[in-house]
């Protein structure tokens, strides 16, 4: 039955993603490693080249003041 498949798969997909990483990862990265990866990402040339706002509240505030839309670019630092 389709519904059962949906209900069964959705929850598994969330925690399962983390559990399935066991084959590929030696262990979860430390906060220090994650901070270094974050700082490395912010130091990349394409980030420095443009006037990115990195604080969500400030971006909304600026959009309100200027009447412009927000172009939101989502990336991550803990994986390529």
């Amino acid at each position: 039955m389709e519904t059962n498949v949906t209900l069964k798969c959705v929850p598994v997909a969330v925690l399962g993603l983390f559990l399935a990483a066991s084959a590929a990862l030696a262990g979860p990265p430390s906060q220090e490693q994650l901070k270094k990866q974050r700082d490395d990402k912010f130091a990349e040339a394409w980030v420095k080249k443009y006037p990115w706002v990195t604080d969500y509240s400030k971006a909304k505030e600026e959009a309100k003041k200027s009447g412009k839309l927000i172009f939101a670019y989502f990336s991550r630092s803990y994986s390529p």
């Binding site: 066991s22 262990g27 959009a63 927000i70």
Partner: protein
């Protein structure tokens, strides 16, 4: 860069660093893979999602689409019923309004054009199906919560994962800190021996903290 002058450039990096704010923003804005690009209005609502592959033409087209939509919303707010109909259809298409609410609003709006009618009917059907699935998921979660309260909990890991994750997801949507915490504790009891589950538990601990703060703001 000409494009940069037309918008507020907002960069969000999901880092999993505990001290970083807005770590759930990617999910909240409908992120489905990295990188992910969308236009937001000043309230933070998603106005237009960019189609992949991401190219300059895509940015421009999406910006024009987003700007046109914002203008349409203003017209609708000013009492233009034709604009209100188009806004309603667009919201239905993006999943921004439920079927029942849309049907109520449609009563006060003009008939759709030949171009709008199939879009409206299709989007309404999508919303109705989603509502049925959401209702079923909510009913399942409520049943599981009753079982959890009665201390009738599964012991099999696969079944247990489904059981607790269903409660966890539902409780998060309902901003129900108590049941969220109970489900999280159940998952921890089952999976805390797996080190790869730690990032997941850390992330959900933050969500729990947020739910508790929202319930009891200091």
């Amino acid at each position: 860069m000409e494009f940069a002058s037309k918008v507020v450039l907002f960069l969000h990096i999901t880092t999993r660093v505990d001290e970083d704010k807005y770590q759930e923003l990617f999910e909240e804005k409908g992120g489905d893979g990295f990188p992910y690009m969308v236009y937001l209005d000043s309230a933070g609502d998603v106005i237009s999602k960019m189609d992949r592959p991401y190219e300059v033409e895509t940015f421009t087209a999406a910006l024009e689409k987003a700007a046109a939509f914002v203008a349409l919303v203003k017209k609708a707010e000013g009492g233009d019923k034709a604009a209100a109909l188009e806004v309603l259809i667009s919201k239905l298409e993006s999943g921004g309004i439920k079927a029942e609410e849309a049907k109520k609003k449609l009563k006060d709006l003009p008939k759709p054009s030949a171009e709008q009618e199939p879009r409206l009917n299709g989007a309404l059907a999508n919303a109705e199906v989603q509502q049925v699935l959401d209702d079923q998921q909510a009913a399942t979660a409520k049943k599981f919560i009753d079982m959890l309260k009665g201390k009738r909990v599964p012991t099999d890991k696969e079944v247990g994962e489904n059981f607790y994750m269903t409660i966890l997801n539902y409780a998060e949507k309902q901003k129900d800190a108590a049941n969220f915490e109970a489900a999280l504790n159940g998952l921890k009891a089952m999976f805390s021996d797996n080190p790869n589950a730690k990032p997941f538990f850390d992330m959900k601990e933050k969500t729990l903290k947020k739910l508790k703060t929202e319930k009891d703001p200091k």
